[in-house]
Amino acid sequence: MPIWRRGRRRGIIGVCWQSDQGGGSLFSGHTEPTLFGSSTGIRQTMAETPSAQLTNRDSPSLLDADFLARLEQLEIVSRKIHASRQKGERRSHRKGESVEFADYRNYVVGDDLRHIDWNVYARLDRLFLKLFMEEEDLNVSLLLDVSKSMDSGEPSKSLYARRVAAAMAYIGLCNYDRVTLCAYNDGITAYRRGLRSRRMMAQVVKFLEDVPIEGKSHFAAAAKQFALRQGQKGVVLVLSDFLDKGGFEEGFRYLLGREMDIYVIQVLSPQETEPDLTGDLRLVDVEDEDVAEITVSKLLLDKYKANLQAYCQSIRQYCTQRGIAYYLAITKHPFETLVLNYLRQRGLVR
């Protein structure tokens, strides 16, 4: 059943298709039972109804139609004003060609005669140029941890992270921001840049669907590569569990060095925050097959929880001290709440 909506900023009217299958998946209507649905189906559907969503019958939903419709009303906010290369919808430091008056300046030879304010010339007999505010686009980069450790937990951390990434990408695309997707483990494994307009959503989904979950995580190496590749400043959203034996500080230093507006979402599963282990166990690290032999006891569990809390707190403290926004997400909490409420409160979206 089509619901007509009006875009907040540009008066775009989108149609959302309410899912017929309750609880639906990301994109309804396509037949292939994959996590994110068929790319073909998405493209076709989106060509006709940009915000129409299809639901996968079998797999868990990533973004449902209603949720996507609400996302359309959001935009990603950068706390800094970054210079960009293309025109967009965001106010820039530069003077440009928007409809919004900014200032006057004296005419110098070579200026475009079209911008001379002839009314002023008539009054004052001097040539002044009318300056307008320039509007540019925003670089939104999504750094997604796809190391093997993300492929654990119930609900899955990787699914959760990809959902958040999809939601943020969609918000960015809706607002004509330049979206960059970057998946990493111990280096960048997949990279897609320059995505603009919601037509590209299908590519975003395909990217997220196709990216393999594998390898050890090494945030510092990945951040270094990303910083080298991403020349432009902008908003960077890092989605990771940060269970990285190499540490997290170095990676953040690379990003901070590029003066990026950084947002961090640490994704942990309930099994990591409240382990349900008993007995004598041989714990094997899923990434590097490192082994820890433990005899589970209340004392040990208490110590583990205290350590986890201290670790998360250390990341939070590091981030806060450097102007990085940090949020800890537990996958048992609905990610919609994260995107619609929490990130709004924290100012990443509005």
Binding site: I294, K298, L301
Partner: protein, 672 residues
């Protein structure tokens, strides 16, 4: 401490300890679990190890506990015992008191003898493997329970079978037996070492220390140890008892009872008199506490103890109770002290009484003065209706039918004046200046110009007889058997003796009545009265039928009887073949109560005998704190202290406790 099974313990230890260590150090099989990262787990484990005190110890705490459990189990397996009394290898004689006072019921409900047996068995357990021991039990007589043996199991088995008696405790015979056995054993031992060790055989006495003849004994060899048994003190009992018929009015029966309290508290109790099964009368007595219970010397005579008590207490601890009743038939008289105390045996006394009959007295004398004197005394003073006078020749010529009836003397008392005879049917005889012609008694040279040096005032025959003014010009020196009781003694000769033989009792005076002022003195009449009452029991009650447990019964046999069946108080029956004998002897009189002998003659003659303790020494049940034998104090050990206490139950309990602790620690570690 000593290990009885050390090799077993060591053997098991050699196998079990390496096995445990091996098991412990084998890798624990852990379940494998994949986690997103071991980063935080490793840190947690590290933190725990760093922060925990005694990290090394904690790591192996369970192993330590398991080793501890194993050690406790091995300790128990080695069968450790705590030897509170260190015993070198040696040989011992165990004496176990089984007299009446050992029947005292202690606080735990078991009798004192059971405790003594436990103590003795503990002692046997504590002996080293090749130590020898023999066991004797004693009351008034000693009995060899087990001769010298190394077989400790046999010793314990034999100790277990010792049964209590109601007899008084006399140590003398037991000591003699102990010495004799050890001497025989030593002499028979070929090995010189064994003989050497026998010379130091020690005596271990398990008793409450109330032994009558302890002051008359001495230990000839070895060292004696006294194991004090028992703790109960609350007891009251009947310590004296007599039944009399009035001579003048034989239908009247007087019963005298002395009741004494030996406990520390004042008591009030009923004393009842029953005839047969019918209760005749009841009197209430209140007795004060025996103040000197514990300090009273054990070997002192009961009377002295009572005097002490009476002097210090306002309420006497001892009272006489007298019952009088009319009863012209025979029967069994029972006097009972109705009180539940630690020793029940001394609360009941019994006595058989015969129907009254006239006393028959025969006097044999050739001298008219004596004849007159005796006739006056018996016929006029004592009002004996059936009194016969004979001369010596008449007595010798008299037919058996005159002198005897049913195998016994026709007369209750026969008095001879200067007459020796061998015609002595079972009965009671008094000889003045003559002797019975029986083995062991003979007359020697004459003694002149001597005085009566000593006499026994406490003997029933000399009661109230004042001999201060009596003298004799001369008398014959008598040769008497060893069991003769010397009643009057001169400087080096016996003047008056009392001899008891089976069926016969003789009173023999060495002086002639005509050589003395005896018959001119009232003492002579009192003496004859005593003789008549004591020997003939007044002729009225069965004085001879009251015995002390352990005494040998001498039962006169009626003509025609070939066997006698004796029924004991417990109901057991013994049959004795008595053909061609005058008296039957019966010695199984261990318990108090009525012994009934039934003969198989035509008249089915029945005789009853009553055994009663009547012994203040036995009724005083408080254990003797300091036992002395002769004048020598004996080392005292309280048998409450286990001589050989096994420690394995403690070790097993410790193992259990540690096991529980280990379980708790393990669960505390594993539990979430």
């Amino acid at each position: 401490m000593k290990f009885l099974s050390l090799p077993t313990g060591l053997l098991v230890a050699a196998v079990a300890i390496p096995a445990l260590l091996l098991l412990y150090f084998l890798k624990l099989r852990r379940r494998e679990r994949t986690v997103s990262s071991t980063l935080l787990w490793k840190r947690a484990v590290q933190d725990l190890q760093v922060n925990a005190p005694f990290q090394k110890l904690r790591k192996n705490l369970l192993l330590f506990l398991q080793l501890l459990i194993l050690a406790a189990v091995l300790f128990a397996l080695a069968n450790p015992v705590a030897n509170f009394i260190k015993r070198p290898k040696r040989n011992i004689v165990i004496l176990i008191d089984r007299s009446a006072s050992m029947k005292t019921r202690e606080a735990d409900g078991r009798i004192r003898l059971a405790h003594a047996k436990d103590g003795a068995m503990d002692l046997v357990d504590s002996l080293q493997g090749d130590s020898r021991a023999m066991v004797l039990s004693f009351a008034d007589r000693a009995e060899v329970v087990s001769s010298f043996t190394e077989d400790h199991r046999r010793l314990k088995r034999q100790i277990e079978q010792i049964k209590p008696t109601d007899g008084p405790s006399k140590l003398g015979e037991a000591l003699q037996l102990a010495v004799a056995y050890s001497a025989n054993f030593a002499a028979g031992a070929v090995d010189k070492a064994v003989r050497g060790s026998m010379e130091t055989a020690d005596i271990d006495l398990f008793s409450d220390g109330r032994i009558k003849d302890a002051d008359q004994q001495f230990v000839t060899r070895g060292r004696m140890t006294y194991y004090r048994v028992g703790a109960a003190t609350d007891n009251a009992g009947i310590v004296a008892f007599d039944v009399r018929r009035d001579i003048e009015r034989p239908g009247k029966v007087s019963v005298f009872v002395q009741v004494e309290n030996f406990g520390p508290k004042q008591i009030t109790s009923d004393v009842s008199l029953s005839l047969g099964r019918k209760m005749e009368t009841v009197q209430q007595v209140t007795l004060g506490p025996a103040a000197a219970t514990t300090t009273r010397p054990a070997n002192s005579v009961a009377g002295a103890g009572r005097r002490t008590t009476r002097a210090t207490q306002t309420l006497p601890s001892s009272r006489n109770v007298i019952f009088k009743m009319g009863h012209s038939a025979g029967g069994i008289i029972t006097v009972k002290l109705h009180r539940a105390d630690a020793l029940a045996t001394d609360n009941v006394v019994t006595a058989p009484i015969d129907p009254p009959r006239a006393i028959r007295v025969l006097a044999v004398s050739d001298r008219s003065a004596i004849r007159d004197f005796l006739q006056q005394a018996f016929q006029v003073a004592f009002r004996i209706k059936d009194f016969t006078l004979m001369t010596g020749s008449q007595y010798e010529e008299a037919g058996d039918d005159v002198l005897a009836v049913e195998g016994r003397s026709t007369f209750d008392l026969v008095v001879f004046d200067k007459h020796d005879t061998d015609r002595l049917w079972p009965g009671n005889y008094v000889f003045f200046g003559g002797i019975p012609k029986i083995p062991g008694i003979s007359r020697g040279d004459e003694v002149e110009d001597q005085v009566f040096v000593t006499w026994r005032e406490d003997h029933p025959l000399l009661r109230y007889v004042r001999l201060d003014n009596i003298f004799a010009l001369k008398w014959s020196r008598l040769s008497l058997p060893s069991h003769a009781v010397k009643l009057i003694e001169g400087e080096d000769s016996t003047i008056l003796a009392f001899i008891t033989d089976p069926g016969h009792r003789y009173v023999i005076s060495a002086f002639d009545l005509m050589d003395s002022n005896f018959i001119k003195n009232p003492a002579s009449v009192i003496f004859l009265q005593n003789a008549m009452m004591y020997l003939a029991g007044g002729g009225l009650t069965g004085a001879t039928r009251l015995i002390t447990p352990g005494d040998t019964l001498s039962i006169p046999i009626p003509p025609g009887a070939r066997s006698v069946r004796v029924t004991r108080p417990g109901g057991a029956v013994d049959q004795i073949d008595v053909a061609d004998r005058n008296t039957a002897t019966y010695a199984r009189t261990r318990d108090c109560g009525i012994y009934k002998a039934v003969f198989d003659d035509a008249g089915k003659t029945t005789e009853s005998y009553a055994a009663n303790i009547l012994d203040a020494n036995e009724s005083l049940i408080a254990p003797n704190e300091h036992f002395t034998i002769g004048a020598e104090a004996v080392q005292t050990v309280s048998s409450e202290i286990k001589a050989n206490e096994p420690l394995w139950p403690y070790a097993a309990a410790a193992a259990l406790v540690v096991l529980l602790l280990e379980w708790w620690i393990y669960n505390k570690r594993v539990m979430i």
